[in-house]
Chain length 710, copies 2
Amino acid sequence: MRPSHLLRGLCLAAGLLLAPLTARAEDGYDLWLRYKPLPEAMRGEPRIVGQPPASGSPTLSLAYGELRRGLDGLNPDEPGLDAPSIRLVTPSQSDTIAAFKLSMEGLGGEGYLIRTVQGGRLTVIAANTDVGVLYGVFHYLRLMQTGASVERLDVRSAPKVRYRLLNHWDNLDRSVERGYSGQSIWDWWRLPDVKDPRYADYARANASIGINGAVLNNVNAKSDSLTAPYIAKAAALADTFRPYGIKVYLSARFSSPIEIGGLKTADPLDPAVRAFWKTKADEIYKAIPDFGGFLVKANSEGQPGPQDYGRTHADGANMLAQAVGPHGGIVMWRAFVYSHEQPDDRAKQGYSEFKPFDGEFAENVIVQVKNGAIDFQPREPFHPLFGAMPKTNLGMEFQITKEYLGFSTHLAYLGPMWEEVLKADTFSAGRGSTVARVVDGKLHGYSRTLMAGVANIGTDRNWSGSQFDQANWYAFGRLAWDPEASAEAIARDWAAMTFTPDKRFTGPAAAMMMGSREAVVDYMTPMGLHHLMGRSHHYGPGPWVAGGERADWTSVYYHKADKAGIGFDRTAKGSDAVGQYAPLAAATFSDLSKIDEKDLLWFHHLSWDYRTRSGRPLWDELVSRYSRGVRRVGEMRATWTSLAPYVDPERHGEVATYLAIQRREAQWWRDASVAYFQSINGLPLPKGEAPPPLTLEAYEAMTFPYAPGI
Amino acid sequence: MRPSHLLRGLCLAAGLLLAPLTARAEDGYDLWLRYKPLPEAMRGEPRIVGQPPASGSPTLSLAYGELRRGLDGLNPDEPGLDAPSIRLVTPSQSDTIAAFKLSMEGLGGEGYLIRTVQGGRLTVIAANTDVGVLYGVFHYLRLMQTGASVERLDVRSAPKVRYRLLNHWDNLDRSVERGYSGQSIWDWWRLPDVKDPRYADYARANASIGINGAVLNNVNAKSDSLTAPYIAKAAALADTFRPYGIKVYLSARFSSPIEIGGLKTADPLDPAVRAFWKTKADEIYKAIPDFGGFLVKANSEGQPGPQDYGRTHADGANMLAQAVGPHGGIVMWRAFVYSHEQPDDRAKQGYSEFKPFDGEFAENVIVQVKNGAIDFQPREPFHPLFGAMPKTNLGMEFQITKEYLGFSTHLAYLGPMWEEVLKADTFSAGRGSTVARVVDGKLHGYSRTLMAGVANIGTDRNWSGSQFDQANWYAFGRLAWDPEASAEAIARDWAAMTFTPDKRFTGPAAAMMMGSREAVVDYMTPMGLHHLMGRSHHYGPGPWVAGGERADWTSVYYHKADKAGIGFDRTAKGSDAVGQYAPLAAATFSDLSKIDEKDLLWFHHLSWDYRTRSGRPLWDELVSRYSRGVRRVGEMRATWTSLAPYVDPERHGEVATYLAIQRREAQWWRDASVAYFQSINGLPLPKGEAPPPLTLEAYEAMTFPYAPGI
């Protein structure tokens, strides 16, 4: 036994005695960056790391510190004097670059390479910038955390998307719209003086997955966020984030010139309005020199916008773009709009309003498009704008927070959902014109590329409301870096880093994750159904929701179920939403013999006895899918129970409790939905299907006045 | 060196290497129960603790666990085989009680004794109940934590007040009225399934200071809190709290029979209403067999109550008391009322409405009275009801959360404020009729005694929004146990337990704490001024607040400043509020030569040139006190800076940041107040006093739309 082993042995013994002092219950705060000691067999030889250069930037210090922290944690063995080493390299060390013939081309400002040289004795992590080095360090540590060998490395990686942003729908009173993880982590009241240590932990977690920007406030914005006190608060956050390569952005309320500028109008062509925004941008950049830019929700759900003055979205976006452009800022203009007049099909509206303006948006504008045309449903076909605006930078908006997928208490890994959309073929420039290639800019040669995720982060100790919802934050970052990455590989990485790299755990855990979203689709909205949730809070089943302010806020508008059939006819005979897609895509969606049944009722209204591919009539198939969803949650519970040996009791217990809630609520979704549709079609249940235990009236009577996130 | 010392030395060395793995930044979560190793000189001989009896209750297990945890932490030295031992004793161990002639009389159901016997070789902690033993364990550990000797102990302690309760003004949507520490720690949405580990930590902290009950929801209550789903949620909390000796109580909305009972009335004399409450109480007790009872805010600030039906407070309270009485429950009926008609002096209203009904309240009703007659101001004379209702159980309501004392960012230790009230002499049964003796029931022979504190607890990692606000939670518990305890001694204990028992720290820290509340009084509301804060949110100065819904919600109503003078004449020539006090108290308050100048303008309207005891005219004295408050905060900052060597950098830095905010805001209070009063009296500033840097209009124009706690 080496002396260091002896020492460890003694300390281990002492540690047992002292355990109550130091043991902290696992609460999930450490996310996927736990750096607990690897099993001996996975550790490999410990490595030596040099000191950071005295003249190094804060970012470089962070990179060294992270590497040291990770190595010490993952492999507490003491390195010998002749142990292999790791060196962090930036272009200032040109001798190292030359000596090992490192090719820095193509790495850009954020990419990195990791290469083992000198016969395995030295691994260099090199980049053109300090933040590139930091990203490389996180990559290196991820390899260790997932049990991969780090003996012989030759890795090159650079992000395919330039702007990889979280969108926080966080209000200034610290509530979070559609937030299920506690309050906003931005403690606006105590900022800028008080900088919660959590801000740096947040930035570090984001940097570890390549996220490089954060929109701090809700798209349903208040003008106050652009006043001097709030700019100072945002600047304090920017100062904390900067070393981690993260820029701050703000949602801008379009009517701010009236509310805080003392003007009578917010008309984007009014010179005083343009002057207001220019002055405001200058003021912000004075406080935050690397301010990222504005995100705008305009003329949607009651928000003000250029159409209030008879102007176009392009007029509005370009005016703001001109204000931030000289400082290098961008404007993200959301395509999620709906007019005051209710359309024949809300699914068509984004396309209808934006497509005509292709080519009219300034070069530093990105139109931010949700993955689907309605609103973050458990499943939606890809948004028809993707592929349809070759002359306009389009960015992707995903929702990480699970507004429509069971809040934080249902386990639903969103990787497969996002992958499904990214891999979808728009056919807009021939076969292979995937959404991913639109978003990464290659298909149309976009000058700016963006992937935005609506954050699921809050003050809950575990950040995301549940342990497994951390995986959605993680997967978003990884997919923003590489939209063609595999959701399953990401799930395995996350499971290994968050719990254990033991394959007896990661295999079943990743499989459970990969199936989880489909289970939610099954028990909530199978076969292309959508928008069937409770009114306003969006929690639980509400297929009966009808009436009220707008037809397109009801469920009946979307499922159109009657005695004869169910589904939204979006073919040419119906709303012709299908006509917004490229012909080849449209043909597939329109053709009942070709369409994937997962999208069936999104595009077609069919009779209840329509024969599905299973051979069963539509009604029977629907019910069987509802029941399958419930069953699958039961299987997830069994899987999780079997994984107890690999997980600390605290987190295992928490996940088990949540799965019990999910199982109960999956049953509720199935039962209430079946009860409702049966009340419409009067059909008997398929053989073997249990009748709902309550009356439809009982399901309809349930109210949730204090649901979170509204 | 003993082997155990050698081992520790080695581990210490190894620990340094491993520090990044295990070191958690100090965030305040551990409160005053940190159990960090004592300095060697304070440790004494390590002690042996036996195993808990296999048949012991959960409470007894907790007591053993806590003792073990505390001893291991405070004194990590390994006890020898012949080390002195500690034994926990309940009446079931009658042999031990007999052997050491332990007198268990007078300890009641919650008291304990701690005695060292066998020539110092054995210390027994004995009580009549398991929770008494738990309290004794916390007492023993507190002695160690504060550096007191535990070699020869002979301690007896029993609570002087029976119901020692936190009142949470927590809403079902998780917001907290007047909460400045994040959200409610009750995660109603996920309850009852998910039991946040924090619930047990909360219960443990309360048990450590003798708190034995918690009202879970806001006094401005929703009826939903009494529906089956919320009863189940409360029951889950009760299950967690029970082993810690803590009972759950609920605020009850008086109109619940209408809102959730389907009745047309909530008239307390209506048989259907009485049946509703009886059935509701039975339902609650079925789920929570040791449910504590109801807290009611009725006919106050818009809340419904018996007066809506022409009934009295006693009618309402007694009806509820009859519903919970058979189960052993109580009703706490708040005396904080105001009528729809605006009175000549709001300070008189509580007394006017309750005094006539003395003797009419049921035996299991406690009328809960705020410390002062207005509303938790930085300073108020004691409430005139104390001493005035000998035939009605009166309980004390203190506000731990600092609604009117700078929220969580101002350091104000409230111990001296509460001590001042408790030591105040009501003279109601002759000299020495202190408020403390009313509250502990001795003066009038009350059958039930109560001290309630409006909690300052939330989801902030440090529980209370700031490190030093933890001291107010702590002090409340200690004073509820013993209303005659010394606020300074409590401050010393808290400082020692929370930071270090080093007297070089605890002396200056406790002195700073003891002066802190008076500093706030000086810079906010000196010399008996009151209710001068910003409208609605109660943040920052607002002496100019006038108009609006009710005169008694304005500042001008209370200070009555004009060209000639300032102050509220409550003498016989004025509102005669003074007439509600016992003659001896009234005489002192009325007499300008006898009244303490701290209360001067509470009771008197005086000309600006009234000569104060300093010899200065009133205006000059006022301004000098405003400035003194600001100066004192500066001194607190200097003190804190000097204490850096004794405090971890994280908590020291946080407190320093908060003190900087407080210093700035103290100046703002002083400047805005001086600017306003100067605008009224037109007088020059005393020599040497700096003029406010901004115009009065500038101070008045400041708005805080997102202030917390509304």
